[in-house]
Amino acid sequence: MSQEYDLTLKISRYDPDTQLSWVQVYRLKAGRILRFVDLFRKINDEQDPTLAWSSSCEHGQCGTCGMKINGKPLLTCELLVENAVKFFKTQTFTVEPLTVAPVIRDLVIDMEKAYERVHFVKPHIIQPAPQHPDGDEYRISPRVLETYVEATRCINCFCCATACVTQKNYLGPNALLANIVRLMDPREMAKQERMDILYSDQGTPRCRTAQACSFVCPKEIDIAHFIALAKEGNFK
């Protein structure tokens, strides 16, 4: 038989109609491999349909369900009850929205506001390199791709930006990473424009090397490594 846990969730609530905020306590029983998104659904189904929370793919590919659980930013679709109990050594959890954008209702934030920083760094190729003479694809050696492929795995869940010790006037780890991907991408010619973004007063100078980004990244991308490359002046 599978084990059941008695859980207490202290969830941050916000009602945009009355502009009131409060913390609501929910108690529920759950099996060991239920995920936190399943718990929210269970609360909706059994206790309180008004609790609003965000998710989409629910398997760690889209980065919609990021929240702070006992202070740690993570994807709630990936957090199994069993692992949460083991990791946090408790069966009581505080659940808060990420801090990168204003809250719309309860655990739902205005993601578009958070995305403004990513839009700012222009995730597309600004100026493409000339085509291969054969007219087919640009050649990229697997060795070159390997140096930055980890950074392309970012899903903009904003867990790193929430954990970062610099919260003001900073593009944040994930937006910088999007810029660094194109700096390392041999198909991008507009290196100077990208360097200007990287070393601007909202760029790497604001990073204090706490490495919280790498620590919390749900994709286990070593974001701090890429920012360190930038600080060491590896991009020319």
């Binding site: 945009p16 060991r32 349909p49 989409s56 793919c57 889209c62 694809e137 697997p142």
Partner: protein
Amino acid sequence: MGKKLQIDSILRPEVLVIGAGGAGLRCAVEICERRPGTSIIAVTKVYSPQKSHTAAAQGGMAAVDPKDPVDKIIYHMFDTWKGSDCSSDQNIIKKVCESAWEQILWLERHGMHFSRTEEGRIAKRPFGGHMLNFGKVKAFRACYEADRTGKGIMDTVWAESLKHGVIFLNQSVACELLFRNGRCIGAIVFMEQNGKFLAVLAKATIMATGGKTRMYQVSTNCRQNTGDGLALILQAGLPVMDLEAVQFHPTGIVGPGILASEALRGEGGILRNKDGEPFMERYAPTAKDLAPRDLVSRCIMNEIREGRGCVHPDHKLPHVWLDLRHIPEHVHRTRIQEVCGFFCKFVGVQPQHELCPVTPTAHYQMGGSPTNEFGEVQKDAQEVVPGLYACGEFAAASLHGHNRLGTNSLLELITMGQVVGERVAAYLHDAEAPGDLPQDAGSHVFSQFSRYLASRGKTHYAEIRDALRVLMMEKVGVFRNEKGLAEAIEKLKELKQMARHMKLSSRSLIMNQDLLQFWELDHLLDVSMVIAHCALARKESRGGHYREDYPERSPEFQYHTLAYMTEYGKVTLGRRPIDMSIFEARGEHYEKFGIIERKY
């Protein structure tokens, strides 16, 4: 209530895109490249277009380089035709397969991070149903970005859309299509984050809302895939096509139903029953584990039915095993890292050392809104609706017929997105302005939402949702029969009645997820009803549609099903002929494109 619902403002872009996933945005970018400065509004139900479900696609995108010394475009065309169980349209097959490589190059030039060969070229892997020499040996045809190909596509078209200044309405849903004299002139959009209704009037409207399989108990689709787009089409009195053709992916991770890509079998993964037997050898001696999805799903269900499956101790769901233990460590690390991580994260299994529990999961709709080869939405087998276009999983042109091959969906959304973009750009040249807001605009959606806001019943939403999901899985799932389908139709009527007596928890319009679920449930029930009717009418087995009482394919049903439903439960059926232009052209190898046997 006393809350009067009204249209808050009117927006007038040239183009409205409903659904900002891979297909919708590929289309938007094509329009911008051909007609720089075109004003485009793209509506998405998710929190940012980058979160679209396209990004969850894993395996790859089939494409034959015309310069390839071994593989040929005609083999790809043949595989698609054979895979569809002779029910895809050959004009579409030709168009898509011939432009495939060009579209791969487009993505590569726009910054997609394809995996590479030692020579620095785009790497390719084998995939189910894709073979050389007309079904002889497996082909290396799927271009991929590790096991996150969909994300690569999504990131690319999203970034390009930003570059071109496409305006996004996030967390918003289109809830009524607008027409004037039969021409589509836009839609009413409900913005969840502020509770406002907008009218978007546009010269051209493109629907690309993706899939819809959330009515099944085990499904790979995201929370938002509730059939809203199809319901909108049905409400407008337009037909949907081949809805009986639902693809069950053989390897869903037991529990949440998360997709474990076919790439795992492409890289050598083997399905085993509880005795450890690699059972696919028995069913498909040539293609084995890489036989098409419908076939593998039925084989798994058959193993389970005959007592050779296992039962998961936590999820209490029957399953078989996927064995990845013999796959080299470097392949685990570089090519299937993401997917193997799912087994670790969601069922606590280490795929390098342990067997992985998998079960068939509702994955894809082969059918959808019928279009011609330019993506123009059809009102019947002959006529199109001016101003209305469709592409991607939402549309059925149809490339897939009754079964889709792996990697052909990403290919379709990119190629058909481009085709529709090209068509729309031409249409915009001399298309008239949509004019004023029609008098009755919003009447449908306001009566719908007023009804939800007035709900004071006792029934819980979850009760109906769960009953629907079990019903669809059991009676309209991998195996179907007349009795079960007839029962399903009766039960769906009951559920629709129950849905009229639900209890709404809050009457706010702002980010009220309970309210939105009412709206979604109506759509799930509408679309489920049409699926069941289409499945009942097709008294044969073809591709993903399998009737236990009619296990063979029948020449009598050599057509596409069209279905209309203006009143719940009253489904009118029609037909659209299957295009056989390759066969009829009598060119080289034409005989391969006749009504052929489907054996792997």
